[in-house]
Amino acid sequence: MNSLSIAIPTGRLLEDATALLRQMGLPMDRFDEDRRLLVALPGSVRVLKAKPTDLLTYVEQGAADIGITGRDMVLEQRRDVYELLDLGFGVCRAVLAFPEERASELWQPGRALRIATKYPRLTMRYFEQQARTVEVIVLYGSVELAPLVGLADGIVDLVMTGQTLKENHLREVAEIAQSSARLVVNRGSLSRSARVAEFVADLEAYLARQERGVHA
């Protein structure tokens, strides 16, 4: 029988991703809580935990057939994978924000800006579309800090509630992208493995039932 390997991301999507796989009948046990990176499940299923920024690499290179990742990563990394389903959880937005008191002054046409972000390509594409000049500073965490200490004029980052922005006296001036968890699939796996196709079909049917349940 064909094996099936599924990559799920550590971090903010981990709990919901694990719960979803449990709903799909995989005995996930306490995988979201423990420190193991790889578990073998009955029926030749392997589930691996990867850093959110690395997940698409595992799927693109075929180390995992299927993965769960945020649309933010898909848009940022533009990897050669199938993005098949919107899983509906992990909803958030990538926004451009500036310090409250200077926001309207900074967000003027023709002004060259320094923007700190974990999403350099998303940011550059947005500024290109807006025909504005930008210098991107890539940071790997706590991006909100950069404008407070003069490292950057503003930030591009994910927000869910906007609470973090408010606490750091930042104001959103534009939405750059909307994100939610997505099912991504390796290009070759979809062609050669009936099992992968079956898993995707089952998941899609499950999501459709959920949606009907919500609306009913």
Partner: protein, 394 residues
């Protein structure tokens, strides 16, 4: 970027020779084009989207040049400007060429790789599509890739569905499909038959998919694509199938010039396609000479990975001479080389590197050493003696 060892190059050359032989037997003759092309040429052929994926440089006159990212556009340019105006059609062309893409560093994707491929230019018939797919299957067989599957789709099926949408959403929908971002379609398109048909694309694979696709095909173009695909697959079946061939209506190739039948081969492990190709009837007209065309390119690196056929680097004999036997040694080496053997000549006491056997030459003696065994021989018999030892060393 990576270096290739003696064994890796031997395996690649072996594969190249096999593929060129298959191409030649099907009437495809090798041509070559420059490694550098003008950026304008490639964008003209492959569309502006290709610009992001190129390695570019600027020549002394300020023209932007690119390292070719593939061979179909250069050969279309070549055929449309040089071959077709001059002579009768069709042309069956073959190539092996290094191609270059501007991949991100650390993405695990190669920036330089080798493609072997063919183009059948000037024949628009379904038999030509079938010939090219059958030849692709034959190449996978010749490359000894076990478990390869060739998936075949048709660009017209998708085009027919997109044609039912207003242009304002058809274009963004096409962009999403090129990125394989099926999950974003429902945010862009209103609920309806077009959305349903597009969302179904990734599932339309396997023997019954032509039947399943039929009710979703609401335009003449989509229906025509399904008929054409069925006819091509029927024609391919006449060849007998050394590898499995499957329908895959969700197959979307990376280049926008494809107009009809499209196909890809995947191996049991490799994540990147082993080969890809299809019909591109509109491409040559962009270079001034209208002609139908189809073809494919094999990625040698993924095939070598999937095939794991060892290449045989030729075994080398080390010929060591005593101080008084230099001229004799050089004469013996010439005989062995004439007989097709690989020989290095060096004085006694100098390291020989990797060698399969040693031949010791003194003014009076000639001895072939293999491991601990020694075989005395004469200048006249040295060819047979060395051959025997090299064959025995397997």
């Amino acid at each position: 970027m990576r270096d290739q060892t003696v064994g890796e190059v031997a395996a690649r050359r072996h594969l190249e020779a096999r593929l060129l032989e298959v191409f030649a037997r099907w009437g495809y003759r090798e041509v070559a084009t420059p490694t550098l092309e003008y950026l304008d040429t490639l964008v003209h052929g492959a569309g502006p989207g290709i610009g992001d994926r190129l390695m570019k440089l600027v020549d002394s006159g300020g023209e932007v040049l690119t390292l070719r990212p593939e061979m179909t556009v250069p050969l279309a340019r070549f055929a449309a400007t040089r071959l077709l105006p001059a002579g009768p059609q069709p042309w069956r062309l073959a190539y092996i060429a290094g191609v270059f893409r501007g991949q991100d560093r650390g993405s695990g994707r190669l920036r330089e790789f080798t493609q072997a491929g063919i183009e059948l230019i000037g024949d628009g018939g379904l038999h030509a599509d079938a010939e090219v797919i059958a030849l692709a299957a034959e190449c996978m067989h010749a490359a000894q890739v076990s478990g390869a599957v060739i998936s075949v789709g048709h660009a017209g099926y998708l085009r027919g569905i997109l044609a039912t949408l207003p242009e304002t959403v058809a274009e963004p929908a096409r962009d999403l499909l090129y990125r394989r971002a099926f999950a974003d379609l429902s945010g862009l398109l209103p609920a309806g038959r077009a959305l349903d048909a597009l969302r179904m694309l990734p599932t339309l694979r396997g023997p019954d998919s032509l039947q399943r696709a039929r009710p979703l095909a609401t335009t003449a173009e989509s229906r025509h694509a399904l008929d054409a695909l069925a006819a091509v697959l029927d024609a391919v079946s006449a060849y007998g199938q050394p590898v499995r061939i499957d329908v895959d209506l969700g197959l979307i190739r990376d280049f926008e010039y494809y107009s009809g039948t499209v196909f890809e081969a995947h191996g049991p492990r490799a994540s990147m396609p082993l080969l890809g190709g299809g019909r591109y009837d509109g491409l040559l007209a962009r270079f001034g000479h209208r002609a139908p065309a189809t073809g494919f390119a094999i990625g040698l690196e993924p095939v070598l990975e999937a095939a794991a056929t060892p290449g045989h680097a030729r075994k080398t004999a080390a010929l060591r001479y005593a101080p008084d036997a230099y001229r004799k040694a050089v004469r013996v080496a010439a005989r062995l080389r004439d007989a097709g053997m690989a020989v290095v000549v060096l004085p006694e006491g100098v390291e020989a590197g990797e060698s399969a056997c040693t031949i010791a030459v003194t003014a009076r003696e000639l001895v072939v050493w293999f491991e601990d065994r020694q075989t005395p021989t004469t200048v006249d018999d040295v060819v047979d003696a060395v051959q025997a030892v090299l064959e025995a060393s397997g």
